[in-house]
């Protein structure tokens, strides 16, 4: 019987697709799955415990609450593409989309600092290297994170 090949991060590429009902209780589970894939490639702890969980949580809650209007009959799709060097996440909802730049505000401004909302998109831009928004039979947010050791 042949022994299994060792995990060779430089030659492996993981692609996953998940679909969840529009319910914020699924967010934690999706985050766990994605963070675990990145941990397999030994991404630094800062990225698996901060950048990825927070940015993905924000994208998922936007998709569920805003894109799908918190309607339980709608779904959110998540595409995960991870290699040794970078992670690409796409979160697709059934909404009409929004203008990312127009909705982005600076929550650190004195007038905004005591507001309860308005930090989600800001955190995504600070915690990911690249954010893109486009439509593809729904509203898609694509986030790219390069591995930073």
């Amino acid at each position: 019987m042949s022994s299994p090949l060792p995990f060779a991060p430089g030659r492996v590429h993981i692609a996953l697709e998940l679909e969840i009902p529009s319910d914020v209780r699924y967010i934690e589970r999706v985050v766990e799955i994605v963070a675990r894939q990145c941990a397999q490639f030994a991404y630094p702890q800062r990225q698996t415990c901060l950048n990825i969980p927070v940015a993905l949580s924000e994208a998922l809650s936007n998709a569920i609450l805003r894109g799908n209007g918190d309607r339980s009959d709608k779904y959110v799709q998540v595409k995960v593409d991870v290699t040794q060097d970078r992670l690409i996440l796409e979160v697709l909802d059934e909404g009409l989309g929004f203008n990312f730049e127009e909705c982005l505000q600076d929550p650190t401004e004195p007038d905004n600092i005591e507001r309860e909302d308005g930090r989600g998109l800001f955190l995504m831009t600070r915690l990911m290297d690249r954010i893109e928004r486009f439509s593809n039979h729904g509203n898609v947010i694509r986030m790219t994170l390069r591995r930073h050791d």
């Binding site: 924000e58 809650s61 650190t108 600092i113 309860e116 909302d117 930090r119």
Partner: protein
Amino acid sequence: MSFAIKKQGEIVVVDVEGQLIVGNRQELKQRVLDELEKGERRFLIDFSQTGYIDSSGLGVLVSLSKKIREQGGELRLANLNDDLKTLFELTKLDTLFQISDTKERALETF
């Protein structure tokens, strides 16, 4: 994810176990507001067992801090790990809260 609330002297200490995110922030908010309603005024949230916090979790902390201040009280935070400290620095919420390295230190100086 869960919250444990206990009284230490005159201070209500809240332990956040797991994540503080959109799915559970209302529970934290309601439990702290219930204590405020009962007349409690000094609150300490201990994050020693917390994983990550999203923007709605941060928003609830800001909102609670405001409501507690309006009633003449104060909300302080303790035990943020390095990742959580970064989150507070990025959003400049480290300027809004008094943050202690340990629960003991926070209780001593409250």
